[in-house]
């Protein structure tokens, strides 16, 4: 038998606990003919009946704190319980470190839940103690590399407490494990944007970085998207060596749709800046759009036809 059934045998309902016999439980008021009724277990009903009673009395006590713990165990997504728990913690001036330990355990079991992560942030805001946050989020990320909440919390800690050092190394390791981890690429952009900014030197370095990663997996959208991102302000044709690299990849016969799409946007830029022969370049544009729409990226056929029509209208018709 599982340990949970053993636990169930020794579990005592709140209604049977002598220390609670002064409290009258409050059943849920679903009205006379409720809809979306949930077939609650007896345990669930019992805990929440007492939670409602405690909230109605506005009781902020040790037993109320324990009760919120039971309620959270049954439904960690109940934001009202978390909200009340924070009020109790404040009223009792509880040790945040103890609460943090309790919370870490719950997050380990409930990694994709808004309430647990919001509670964590609230605790760090109170205590101003962020000493465990980077290790904790790194641990969660090692189990679930794209956990949105963990990344969001990590970004908040880094920004709030200016913990930028070492983050690029952390990202490097993740990208070495999985070069397709888009959350790590996003983090890289976030760190650079808030530290050095995209200066000429940094952009050159990041182009080299992206090229190396693209060479590992040329169809990896994350790396291509990042490359576009770092060139957002400068333009895709800003770096001569990158332009050469793009053409050389094409010359080698690389069939990544992201490469063709990048080259297409380089042509778009040349045309816009009137840096090329319109007819010759539009011929190349047509052939790239055809390749994408009919061969290498057919699911986006409509998009590529739209791009071609728009460019034709923009550059040729005038």
């Amino acid at each position: 038998m599982s340990s949970s059934s053993d636990e169930d045998e020794s579990y005592k309902m709140y209604k049977d606990r002598p220390e609670w016999n002064d409290v009258k439980s409050v059943p849920q008021d679903d009205g006379p003919a409720p809809v979306v009724q949930i077939a609650y277990s007896e345990k669930f009903k019992d805990v929440f009946d007492y939670f409602r009673a405690v909230m109605a009395m506005n009781e902020k006590s040790e037993r109320a704190l324990e009760l919120t713990g039971s309620a959270i165990e049954l439904n960690p997504a109940n934001y009202t319980v978390w909200h009340y728990r924070r009020e109790v913690l404040k009223a009792l001036k509880k040790d945040i470190a103890v609460e943090m330990k309790f919370l870490s355990q719950i997050i380990m079991e409930q990694q994709k839940n808004y309430q647990v992560w919001h509670h964590r942030r609230a605790l760090v805001e109170w205590s101003q103690d962020f000493s465990e946050e980077l290790d904790f989020t790194a641990d969660i990320i090692s189990r679930d590399q794209k956990n949105y909440h963990a990344w969001q919390h990590r970004q908040w800690v880094i920004q709030e407490f200016e913990q930028w050092d070492g983050e690029l190394d952390f990202i490097d390791k993740l990208l070495e494990q999985d070069v397709r981890n888009n959350s790590a690429w996003n983090e890289r952009y976030f760190v650079i944007e808030h530290t050095t900014g995209f200066t000429d030197e940094v952009v050159k370095r990041e182009i080299e970085y992206a090229i190396k990663k693209i060479n590992l997996a040329t169809k990896n959208e994350s790396a291509w998207s990042y490359l576009r991102g770092v060139l957002q302000d400068k333009g895709l044709t800003w770096s001569k060596s990158l332009c050469d690299q793009i053409h050389s990849w094409r010359g080698e016969g690389l069939r990544s749709p992201h490469l063709a799409a990048f080259l297409l946007d380089m042509f778009d830029e040349d045309l816009e800046k009137k840096k090329c022969d319109v007819n010759k370049t539009m011929d190349k544009v047509r052939s790239l759009c055809k390749e994408l729409a009919e061969d290498t990226d057919t699911v986006r056929r409509k998009y590529w036809n739209f791009v071609l029509q728009r460019m034709t209208k923009e550059y040729e018709v005038k």
Partner: protein, 406 residues
């Protein structure tokens, strides 16, 4: 089978280029399951040449949940207005008439979820939260009855919205709650449908600027500035900007490129983020973004004249999406699922159907559909995810009411 034949068959499968990583291994697992679904159908095509939307089974599943849910729904005990909305909206899409008695029961139940200080909680006695507030308002608008409209206390709703508003234009989800892109959308949508928006624009001062900062270098939007581009947040952020009429502030081209790239080449469904797996709920969050972007392009003059490609259809492969939803996401007992191997739930049922509807109804009101014409659902309004009828009737009802005094 056009989705297997068009293009080079090999190009459709994931190519890890000799470097298998966690992401590519997971992706190949999903493609294997999806391919099996497509092939199973192909083998039986002589007996059953068309794929059906199993309407009756979905309706049975929805009606059952409207009454009673199993113990496994305890985890959604703080999301009961959502369950009402997912079910009622799905029934509307399927043109299943809800009996008047049931409509009234839903109104009374949502009334119990309404907090005396405004807004709706996740269940009776819970504090107000913007997400169930959005869901409750959407559900009541979907019911289209006087009782439903009168259930909403607009005076306290407006007070609640003001209480959630932060100085920088963002909104917290509840008292002492979290702030993200969803909260602004929920507030904007609820205010707009109940006629609180037009003359009270100050409520959303700076909200637009906050949202615009959420657009990432990829083109989609994240939950807050700096966070990774994500389908759910992009829909919320962009739809809020559309409702507030400030959609031109985002980089539309970048967003269009990002969202079209989220459609999976083999599965036909959408992923929520770059290099993540397909999930039927993104049929709406991502697929539903394209009608909104289409409208922006039209405003900018980008889809008129020679640009015919965008005139008659949305800029993604609508048929491929329909194949995915119909072949891979229908549970044989009714209800829809995330991807093959997952179990059904009301969230995925609602968003898979909403996405399916959005992919069936093109601009200029013509419908394109995989399978028989009976697969066509009622059209959805892309900004609110309600039927057009529900939006129009709600707006008509609330527009004539006086604005609450402050």
């Amino acid at each position: 089978m056009d989705w297997l034949e068009k293009g080079d068959g090999d190009m459709k499968l994931n190519d890890d280029e000799g470097l298998a990583t966690y992401s590519s291994i997971e992706q190949e697992g999903v493609e294997h399951n999806v391919m099996k679904k497509f092939k199973d159908f192909e083998e039986l095509m002589d007996i059953q040449p068309e794929i059906f939307l199993t309407r009756d089974r979905h309706i049975d599943y929805l009606l059952k949940g409207l009454n009673m849910l199993s113990k496994s729904y305890e985890c959604l005990d703080a999301s009961r207005p959502w369950l009402c909305y997912w079910i009622v909206h799905s029934l509307n899409l399927l043109e299943e008439e809800i009996p008047e008695v049931m409509k009234s029961r839903i109104c009374k139940f949502l009334g119990k979820c309404q907090h005396p200080k405004g807004g709706f909680g996740g269940g009776p006695g819970q504090i107000a939260h913007l997400a169930p507030t959005y869901a409750a308002v959407n559900c009541l608008c979907s019911l289209q009855t006087e009782e439903a409209y009168n259930t909403i206390n607009r005076n306290t709703l407006l007070e609640f919205l003001w209480r959630m508003r932060q100085a920088d234009g963002s909104f917290t989800m509840h008292d002492d709650g979290e702030t993200d892109t969803r909260s602004i959308y929920c507030a904007v949508s609820a205010a707009s449908l109940t006629g609180l928006l037009n003359e009270d624009l100050e409520l959303f001062n700076n909200s637009v600027q906050w949202l615009v900062r959420c657009q990432t270098y990829e083109g989609g939007m994240g939950g807050c500035p700096g966070a990774e581009a994500h389908g759910g947040y992009t829909f919320c952020g962009y739809a809020a900007l559309v409702i507030l009429d400030h959609y031109k502030l985002v980089d539309t081209d970048r967003m269009l490129r990002w969202v079209t790239n989220k459609q999976m080449k083999m599965e036909g469904g959408f992923q929520g983020r770059t290099n993540k797996l397909v999930d039927a709920c993104y049929s709406f969050w991502q697929g539903g973004l394209l009608p909104l972007i289409h409208n922006t392009l039209e405003q900018e003059g980008g889809v008129e004249g020679e640009v015919a490609e965008a005139q008659e259809t949305w800029l993604y492969d609508q048929m491929a999406l329909q194949h995915y939803v119909l072949h891979c996401c229908q549970c044989s007992f009714g209800g829809l699922i995330d991807k093959p191997g997952k179990s059904r739930d009301y969230y995925h049922t609602c968003y898979a159907l909403s996405g399916l509807s959005s992919s069936q109804h093109c601009p200029n009101n013509h419908a394109i559909h995989v399978g028989p014409k009976t697969n066509v659902l009622v059209a959805v309004h892309p900004a609110y995810n309600l039927t057009y009828d529900s939006v129009q009737k709600a707006m008509h009802h609330f527009v004539n009411l006086p604005l609450p005094s402050q």
